[in-house]
């Protein structure tokens, strides 16, 4: 009796460290697209590069891939400088935002392409291609053409095509953004599963914070060509290092406050502050909707709107003090009507602050 080896055996790897060191990209338009970006990925780590459009996240990924020349700094794959190495010798796997399957080839030929370029002999090529297709659950569609597949299936094939060569690093450039919401969630879970199974170092570029927080080991938040913070999803959410991060990751109410000795006073309430590098004085406090609640005592406010979010409810109120709109998250049971007078209370959790 023989035991069949796991289907993905030949695709599993030990992971390669990947590093961007002080990478600069200057298109000569005034602002640098990459302004000294440093990012180190541990072997087998899944890092998401998150930021608004135009922040340089895709440029960073393309610099790592070799599709974009850099004007300074280093790109290291497996502790080896690859700035001078052309794309096709960097040994990377890449999935693009738009569908990139070769339209004149079948799914099988698409996936086998990378192996063919590496001159893998026909027999091994066939079995590895099949294995990669099975990995993404499309083993039965090998003879179809790209136009006969749905968007989600096309991106799965693109993933299989990128993985079949056992590249040292997997680069995902917003691979889900062209897909429907449901397929998007499904496929991101699958990407995560496959990545874990194979142990491949992965950089995932996205503008969707929910996506980044859901799948990545660590998330790097980029803004205007710089990395603002690198950390686990929890760190980013609970201890944002800058106002930008606090604002971009999750939802925050911006309230005026007064910072003094690690404590911020907001509307007369003293709260512990996360304020690395912020000088004492007037600041903006970023208060999460879930750090607020309704109570018998608190800031007087009027309900403006309320929306049901499934497991919880979010109610927007107008503060009597300064007419500011504030979102409060609370359990579904308590319901308010528009115009109701309520009291908003701080739950006492630490809040991020930034310069006003």
């Amino acid at each position: 009796m023989t035991i069949a080896p796991p289907a993905t055996e030949s695709l599993v790897q030990r992971g390669t460290p990947v590093e961007l060191v002080e990478v600069v990209k200057d298109y000569g338009t005034g602002q640098r697209a990459l302004d000294g970006v440093s990012l180190a990925l541990e072997p087998g780590e899944f890092v998401a590069l998150l930021g608004p459009s135009g922040c340089g996240k895709t440029t960073a990924l393309r610099a790592l891939a070799g599709l974009e020349r850099i004007d300074g700094g280093h790109v290291r794959i497996g502790n080896e400088d690859v700035e001078q190495t052309p794309v096709h010798r960097r040994d990377i796997g890449m999935v693009f935002q738009s569908y990139s399957l070769f339209p004149h080839m079948t799914v099988r030929a698409n996936v086998a392409f990378g192996l063919e370029m590496r001159r893998v002999e026909a027999k091994a090529r066939a079995s590895r291609t099949q294995e990669a297709l099975d990995l993404v659950g499309l083993g039965a569609m090998a003879d179809r053409y790209a136009h006969q597949l749905s968007g989600g299936q096309q991106q799965r094939v693109a993933l299989a095509r990128a993985l079949v060569t056992r590249p040292r690093v997997l680069l995902l450039d917003e691979p889900l953004s062209a897909l429907d919401a449901k397929v998007r969630v499904q496929l991101r879970e699958e990407i995560r599963r496959i990545q874990k199974e194979l142990g491949i170092t992965t950089l995932f570029v996205t503008h969707d914070q929910e996506e980044a927080l859901a799948v990545a080991d660590r998330v790097a938040v980029m803004n205007a060509g710089r990395i603002e913070q690198i950390g686990t999803p929890e760190e980013l959410y609970l201890r944002p290092a800058s106002p930008f991060v606090a604002d971009f990751v999750g939802l925050s109410n911006r309230l005026p406050g007064e910072l003094a000795g690690g404590t911020v006073t907001v509307h007369g309430v003293r709260l512990p502050a996360i304020a690395a590098g912020v000088a004492d004085g007037p600041v903006t406090a970023f208060v999460r909707p879930e750090d607020l609640g309704f109570g018998a005592e608190g800031l007087p406010a009027t309900v403006v709107a309320t929306s049901f979010l499934g497991a919880m409810r979010r109610t927007t109120v107008r503060l009597a003090a300064d007419d500011a709109l504030v979102a409060v998250q609370h359990e579904v049971g308590s319901r308010f009507g528009t115009g109701d007078a309520v009291q908003v209370a701080f739950l006492g959790r630490p809040v991020a602050v930034g310069g006003r």
């Binding site: 891939a65 599709l67 052309p86 794309v87 096709h88 010798r89 040994d91 990377i92 796997g93 890449m94 693009f96 738009s98 569908y99 990139s100 399957l101 070769f102 339209p103 004149h104 392409f113 990378g114 370029m117 590496r118 053409y145 136009h147 749905s150 968007g151 693109a158 095509r161 990128a162 060569t165 680069l171």
Partner: protein, 299 residues
């Protein structure tokens, strides 16, 4: 006896290409695209009307070549005359012209493949900034009347004559210029249906260098555009009269005109053959372009 007369009968040769393609699309896979595809009956009417329009002059030409001078009786004499050694000198100009035209065809197609195509690929993949300039340059010749162009060509060819000689093949340069718009369009249309940059980047990320990227990914996806561009170039060369006439070169067209004055029957036979040749070319190119794939609109 076969049942329906028109139903299964193949369309006349001249029409078979678009008709067949349209028929296959309607019949085989895209039944769902009813909005864009005419009904079978409408299609057939269009086919028959345009078929008649094409067929009548062709039939008339054929009938004319089969008539005896004066009497109008049926004869194959005119066809025989082409191969009659005694009359060979009558047709010498035409054969020389035909030979010259074919050489110019080959050279012009080479200009398209070796000059225009690489330029377009470079503009598409490496230097997107020059794409618009290239388009204007390539389409410009269509806005200038050939006669005006010739006025400009004359001094150029005087210089060219001193270096390259005055052989007919040098016409390929001038005809290359006037065929640019026709050669440019199909490739550019083909390019616009693809996201070539992404495809090329994908190929390179998978380990293909530039050469293999172009050979394995770019060119196969542009096959249709390149083929139609070559076909149009060939038909421009075969239809070009003005330049050859003004630059005093003998090509198929000028030869045909000369012959028309002495022997209209044989001239007509050659005109027919030329049409047949282009139709055959069309068949070859459209089948070669559609083998192995039937792309619908992109998702």
């Amino acid at each position: 006896m076969s049942a329906g007369p028109a139903a299964g009968a193949p369309a006349p040769g001249s029409l078979s290409i678009p008709a067949r393609m349209a028929g296959r699309r309607v019949g085989a896979r895209s039944r769902t695209l009813t909005g864009a595809v005419p009904s079978r009956a409408t299609g057939r009417v269009v086919l028959i009307v345009s078929g008649v329009l094409f067929a009548v002059p062709l039939a008339a030409m054929t009938w004319f070549t089969l008539q005896q001078v004066g009497t109008g009786a049926f004869t194959l004499a005119h066809y025989g005359a082409i191969f009659d050694p005694a009359q060979a000198s009558n047709y010498e100009d035409l054969f020389t012209g035909l030979q010259n035209s074919l050489i110019i065809c080959v050279l012009t197609v080479l200009i398209v493949l070796l000059l225009l195509l690489p330029a377009m690929l470079l503009a598409e993949l490496r230097f997107p900034a020059v794409r618009a300039v290239l388009e204007v340059v390539c389409l410009l010749p269509i806005t200038v009347p050939t006669v005006v162009l010739v006025v400009g060509f004359v001094p150029v060819y005087q210089v060219l004559g001193g270096t390259l000689g005055t052989d007919p093949w040098t016409l390929a340069f001038a005809i290359g210029v006037i065929s640019l718009p026709y050669a440019y369009r199909p490739i550019s249309t083909n390019l616009s249906t693809l996201n070539l940059t992404i495809l090329a980047e994908a190929a390179r990320s998978l380990g293909a260098g530039w050469f293999r990227t172009v050979w394995r990914v770019v060119l196969p996806n542009l096959r249709r555009g390149i083929l139609s561009s070559c076909l149009l170039t060939v038909s421009v060369v075969l239809g070009e009269f003005t330049i050859a006439n003004f630059l005093n070169q003998t090509t198929f067209q000028t030869g045909l005109l000369l012959l028309q004055q002495t022997d209209p029957y044989v001239a007509t036979i050659f005109a027919l053959l030329a049409l047949l040749f282009v139709f055959l070319l069309l068949v070859v190119i459209s089948t070669a372009g559609s083998i192995g794939r039937s792309r619908r609109s992109r998702r």
